[in-house]
């Protein structure tokens, strides 16, 4: 595997900020984004905001987004580069920011994501018609379709996903900003009727309002700022636009390639990871991620999560601030904020002892996008 550019031109996350997640009646995504960015600027100790020379917003298929030119105007900045990635998840956007810095286009890049969807904390995510003629509504049903095949292949019972949801709520108890802090028992999970068999409503994350900001910088700048830098160490990416022309598309065909890439580039194995984060619009993607990235064997995910391995204090805690099923649904952005806090040993009651290496893994769209980043503390 050729060296990745940040191996020779290191890029660090130097500041993070996140608002309360859940409900923000009447506040715009720009207000929430700027609140998060001000927290990130203070966190980084970036005394002069004009040192930010790159500003990245995002653009979603539903038209929601943050226009980085408008945002820069609000912020009183004239950046060298502005941009908004289509489907700007936390992983895609931070990798783009790192590219801008490693190639020398920018020195300090602010990445901002915020939204205030209608029906926050009420509506399940993924609400778009995939095939309305046949009644296939909601993108997360792709994950439910995949789970039916998984259950058949591994003779896996109903309820196997319950420990994932319960664990997310356990982690969220320790987050100061989580939307979903009410504890949940496995029995309460099982009592909930199915929504789209084999999923219960609790298996799909709900939309939430909130903002997050991440500031990335070149290593020499990072060294002079307030906090210990957290370096981007390696990335892996694999897309699967051929969809059903691939075998096992809805069992996350492609995720294994992203895993091989990121571990090869990092020179690491799953045993090197201290803190594991994954974007999970549905509980099933946690099982697929654990298996495809090698944290447990194929078909072993349900027993692995049932054992408490991903819980607070477990063998490999997953989504230590609650993730999208517990803290809030910001498309992987809150996971990055939390990885940084863990690697700085700032996570309070959530802290994984001596966490030095953090990994983020993502599944996107209709199981067409896979991405992983590994971060190390400086």
């Amino acid at each position: 595997m050729p060296k990745q550019i940040w191996t020779e031109h290191p890029v660090a996350i130097v500041g993070v900020g996140a608002t309360q997640q859940g409900l923000h009646p009447g506040r715009s995504s720009y207000q929430l984004g700027i609140e998060a960015l001000q927290l990130a600027i203070a966190d980084a100790g970036l005394e002069d905001k004009r040192r930010i020379d790159g500003v990245l917003g995002f653009q979603m298929a539903d038209g929601l987004g943050i226009d980085a030119m408008v945002l820069s105007r609000y912020l009183g900045l004239n950046p060298k580069v502005t941009g908004a990635l289509d489907y700007g998840t936390g992983g895609f956007t931070t990798q783009y920011a790192a590219n801008l810095i490693a190639t020398g286009a920018c020195s300090v890049v602010a990445c901002i994501f915020a939204r205030n969807p209608t029906d926050a904390m009420e509506a399940i995510s993924g609400e778009f018609p995939v095939d309305p003629d046949h009644g296939l509504f909601n993108g997360n049903v792709g994950a439910a379709l995949g789970w039916s095949r998984y259950m058949s292949r591994y003779n896996c019972p109903d309820g196997a996903l319950g420990p994932v949801v319960v664990s997310a709520r356990r982690h969220a108890q320790h987050s100061d900003i989580a939307a979903w802090k009410t504890p949940l028992t496995f029995d309460e999970y099982m009592e909930q009727p199915h929504l789209v068999w084999p999923f219960r409503e609790l298996d799909i994350c709900k939309v939430t309002a909130g903002g997050a900001a991440i500031i990335m910088a070149r290593a020499d700048i990072a060294a002079d700022l307030a906090k210990r830098p957290v370096y981007l160490h390696a990335v892996g990416r694999q897309q699967a636009p051929r969809m059903f022309e691939n075998d096992d598309h809805l069992l996350c065909f492609g995720m294994k390639d992203a895993a091989d890439q990121v571990f090869d580039a990092a020179g690491m194995a799953p045993t090197d990871i201290d803190v594991l984060h994954m974007s999970e619009a549905s509980s099933a993607s946690v099982i697929h991620t654990l298996e495809n990235y090698g944290f447990c064997g194929a078909g072993e995910g349900p027993d692995f999560v049932k054992s408490g391995a991903i819980d607070p204090g477990g063998e490999i805690p997953v989504n230590t601030s609650g993730g999208q099923l517990g803290e809030g649904y910001l498309l992987g952005w809150l996971h990055h904020v939390e990885i940084v806090r863990q690697l700085r040993q700032e996570a309070g009651s959530r802290q994984v002892p001596n966490a030095e290496v953090g990994q983020y893994c993502a599944t996107g769209r209709y199981r067409e996008d896979f991405l992983s980043s590994i971060y190390v503390r400086g």
């Binding site: 609400e127 018609p129 995939v130 095939d131 309305p132 003629d133 046949h134 009644g135 296939l136 509504f137 909601n138 049903v141 439910a144 379709l145 995949g146 039916s148 095949r149 058949s152 292949r153 009727p193 199915h194 929504l195 789209v196 068999w197 084999p198 999923f199 409503e201 051929r242 059903f244 022309e245 809805l250």
Partner: protein, 138 residues
Amino acid sequence: MSAPRAISESQDVQYRAFLANYEVKMQQCTSCKVFRHPARWICPECLGQGWEWIDLSLNGEIEYFVWYIQPLDPSFSDVPYNVAIVRVEEGPCITTNVLGAAMGELSIGQPVRLEVGRSASGKPLLFCRSDVSTLDAK
């Protein structure tokens, strides 16, 4: 090589026109003979731009399925109903509903038979039946 012809990005209109006539056809590449679906103007295997519409065998197998227990859209309020991804014998997958099956009667790998039916709004659509012994395709 023939001159490039004007094409539409999707060939869905043609596919649906066959369905409206109770014909279940799929595109087959004239160069490499691979079937493709959804319909399009170029072969994803060999990039050939020629195709023929071939009658399907009507045999398929359930690759994935779900049951909507609670309605997610007012246009499909009659629950429970299933949605399945079926791999047809010729290779590609289709999204469909398996008719005539109650909850608990579907399984992965189950053989199904394709047939043309009509949606609630009267649109001709491709469905499947789990009772493969009933060969009543029009």
